[in-house]
């Protein structure tokens, strides 16, 4: 039996890697991958802790919903990034800055 703390450590590590990618990467696609890391960290937590919630299985259900919603959000995000590429010929968010104060 793997203790629950191991799952928590892995998910915290995944979350931090994802957050680092979101803050530091210079490509919209890489930022999306970072967001996906953060989502999967949360999903791992949900699945691991639903061991104590066998009857309602809330964590398992939540994990399924989160996976589907993440896929939907990524599909929309990729379509928007494709549109951006059509106008700017780059997907580096630091160079796409026509809107600012």
């Amino acid at each position: 039996m793997i203790p629950l703390s191991h799952f928590m450590i892995i998910s915290a590590a995944l979350f931090c890697i994802g957050l680092y990618a979101v803050l530091s990467k210079r490509s919209a696609i890489m930022i999306l991958i970072g967001i996906e890391f953060m989502l999967n960290a949360a999903i791992l937590n949900f699945v691991a802790f639903s061991r104590y919630d066998k009857f309602a299985a809330g964590g398992q259900t939540f994990a399924l919903f989160a996976i589907v919603l993440a896929a939907a959000a990524v599909a929309v995000a990729l379509a928007i990034i494709l549109n951006v590429y059509g106008y700017y010929k780059t997907i580096d968010p630091t160079q796409i800055d026509q809107l600012r104060d």
Binding site: M8, S11, F15, G18, V22, A28, I31, L32, G34, I35, M38, L39, A41, A42, I43, N45, F46, A48, F49, Y52, D53, F55, A56, G58, G59, T61, F62, F65, A66, L69, A72, A73, V76, A77, A79, I80, I81, N83, V84, G86, Y87, Y88, P93, I96, D97, Q98, L99, R100, D101
Partner: protein
Amino acid sequence: MSEMLPYIAGLLRDVLSGIPHLMPELILACTFIVVILTDLFFKGKDSAATFWLCLTGLTASFAVTLLPSHQSQSGHLIFGNTLFADRLSIVFKQIFYFVILFFAVFVKFSPQFRKHSKGAGDLYILLPVILLGLNLMSMASSLLLIYLSVEMISIASYLMVGYVSGTSRQTEAAMKYVLFGSACSAMMLYGMSLLYAFTGTLNVAEPQFLQRLSQMPSLAGNVAVGLVLVGIGFKLSFVPLHFWSPDVYEGAPTTVTAFLSTGPKIAGFAILVRFTESLSPQGGGMPVFDFQGVLSAVAILSMLAGNFTAVWQDNIKRMLAYSSIGHTGFILMAVIVHSQQGLKPLLFYLLIYAIMNMAAFILAGRIEDQTGAVSIREYKGLGRYMKLEMVCFVVILISLTGLPPLAGFMAKFLVFSSVLENYSVTHSGWLLALLITAAVTTVVSLFYYFKVPLNAFLRQSEGKPVAPVKPDFLSVIILILTSLLLLWGIFPGLIA
């Protein structure tokens, strides 16, 4: 599996007894499917069939909300304690219905959407889903439904901001919105997973939730609640999380901006109220999270940043975006004191805020469509050509400032007096700071709101004169909204 068999009958009975409370939402889900099929096969000219069918579905769902049987049954939790069916959610649903209704009409009359090669049909399809998401946000009591409804609104909003994509700025706004939004919702999801890990339940309203959370080390609990607040804060666009809103409001089609600044924000307040309520211990005890301190700091910063930055803005939509950040800070004051005073000031402010912001953005959009003016400098002399629009605009801006005799004044007055009353009892330093900031920033807001009438009426236009604009159906709606502000400002008792 077999050990669950005895419970199945009870679970089924629970689900069946909840269905009558969920009728408005079920109607919306059916409308969604019917509207998709209609838009595929019987589009009609300008997606007219889709539009009218969509409006019928929305109105039917609203009518069911108003039924006396629906109202009297309210006041408890349904579907295995995952949804609140109470007075509060019904009030919020009524506000949401009118926001979506006006949004639909504005889209119908927006040349940007009518001239678009795809047409506006796909946007009408989104409307029932958005209303469904907003309704669920006002009812949600389980973490799963909070996340689900927030994401429903977010994904639909990303699509709407990027819908036209006619210029590079519009795609840029959509990309900033989707990246910032997904990152915030991922943080919220991680916070929720931590809350689930600490408490073993997804249901915020259960006593077990608060009880187990207060047994955790305070740092762990604070991190988890703080991460969930990040997701809610993105919807509210309060200060550390407001960076997206001026860019998105400026870049998005103005009709969509009118919706973004009202619907999701009001729903965000609904969730914030429920969340703070269920995490505040009844009858004393150590609070798990210092909501009063954190929300007060956020509210003060929002009011300062929103109102002071708005003074430097020249683009009208950017100015309104910063002003709406300032208003968020003001509304947060009502959330901070709501447990003592009831929700009346908050609900009144939200309703008036929805009317004011919708009308202001629609007028900005209309002026842009007719004359091409997007910055306040270009408004010079427009008061002579667009008399009705400019007079309404000035009335709405005075109401946004919060001057009598308009409804904006009554809304601010109610919030202000409830905070003052609370301060005279508790003598909390946070409340005093809030009151001072609110008073100072209201004065500051005069400077930027009054730039519009200054340019429109008191300065001469430099360019060539614009042809006088003929009034149409949209002018009638704007006139109705403006007169509502005047009516409710003088007789606030008319809102039950």
